[in-house]
Symmetry: C2
Subunit: 237 residues, 2 copies
Amino acid sequence: MAQPKRQRTSRHEIYVTLRQMVLTLQLPPGAALSENELAASMGVSRTPVRESLILLAQEGLVQVFPQIGSFVSRVDPAQVSDAQFLREAVELAALDDLPPDLDAAVLKDLRDNLERQQREGLGIEEFFELDEAFHQGLMRLSGHANAWTTVAAAKGHLDRARRLGLYENASPAVFADQHREIFDAVVGGDVSLARTAMRTHLRAVFSDIERIRAHSPELFATDPSAVPVRRNVVVWE
Amino acid sequence: MAQPKRQRTSRHEIYVTLRQMVLTLQLPPGAALSENELAASMGVSRTPVRESLILLAQEGLVQVFPQIGSFVSRVDPAQVSDAQFLREAVELAALDDLPPDLDAAVLKDLRDNLERQQREGLGIEEFFELDEAFHQGLMRLSGHANAWTTVAAAKGHLDRARRLGLYENASPAVFADQHREIFDAVVGGDVSLARTAMRTHLRAVFSDIERIRAHSPELFATDPSAVPVRRNVVVWE
DNA sequence: CGGCCAGGGCTTGTATACAAGCACCTGTCG
DNA sequence: CGACAGGTGCTTGTATACAAGCCCTGGCCG
């Protein structure tokens, strides 16, 4: 954001890596994260690892219990719901702020993005990348690209729940169609239709969370203040 | 947020203190923050101070330039605008989610809050506290209290700009009346009126920012990536 | 007199050492 | 056999030492 671009410190590298591993469920919710282990396996000292964990803890992706351990936080349905509300509020408000003349370059990116979404054999992670870029592109159209970064930072729990949903039934095609629908409404200047399509789209995954929770309850938190059981997980290959 | 409540580590204490000093402009934008100095004056080592600065940097309240120094970030008009958009989107969306039966306890808190806002001789910081509690209370009414914490974390730049505005003309009475107006509309069940009043209220301070910027340009950032000039500031009494 | 260069003092980044405390495991005793 | 107590190994929190680099300043040289 306002950070200087020279972020090639090892802390930043570790932070980005760990964050990605948590969001992609490569580090599953509940996994134990030992500062010493991580430092050893990554060939650095505890300091940058520890500082990364503190940042992740502030984002709610990691929980640190002094003298007990650090753990990948379980998906908290309450936080998923909060992020859903936040995201919906922001994205719908952005649609209301669309200017009369849409940025042609952004529109082209969005069109390319949509085209790629409908390709066959699209991997889940690839789809997620495109999905994220699509929604960010819509925010750019209304000049609120920066506000999106705040939303993106807050929706870690939501994204993990979404991934769980996709890994369960793996049908990104439906979402791709919904994206197309939103995009067409935006280009057509029909804000009301765009809002309706966006709301429908954003709530599609959200409605599935309870089903996923019944299927994999161990990934979800029951009491967020409870101390997890230590359970080692192989990290960093 | 989802952190365990046992937060009596010195890091947390320092973090809260520094954050408050930045938000209240007690640490003015552009001030130099030396890890060594802070640690010495607070009687601890660099470690907890440094970790606090890293957290504040992630919030955008502090900028850390490796091998150069750490500085209280100048108020970034772009970030102020982003926070304004985010806040407006969320608070208006919350009004749409108000349940038919409003929580009586929260309503009582809000009434007490409004009554206190209209007392004579109210200090600026006291008003800010009440203002923050009032808006949080409205979010609680719609069951989105937790989403408010995310907004609160993102609106550091906005709050500093608001404080600048209040210290300039010091007229919280107008805002207190607007709060009352919003509250009455909410209690009366007129969501449309509540939305209008809320929008008017939220944009009141925002429109003043340019005036403040002309008055105190040194507190605002021109190029957010520029390295500030070192300028020592007495800290911690 | 002006420009260049080296050195010292500061900065943050990283590594390491020590402190405090929880949890489990084991040996002992009832 | 069961329960309890103590040790041991782990955890994170804090303190300190070292590394790398920027900036300014003072001295030297053209």
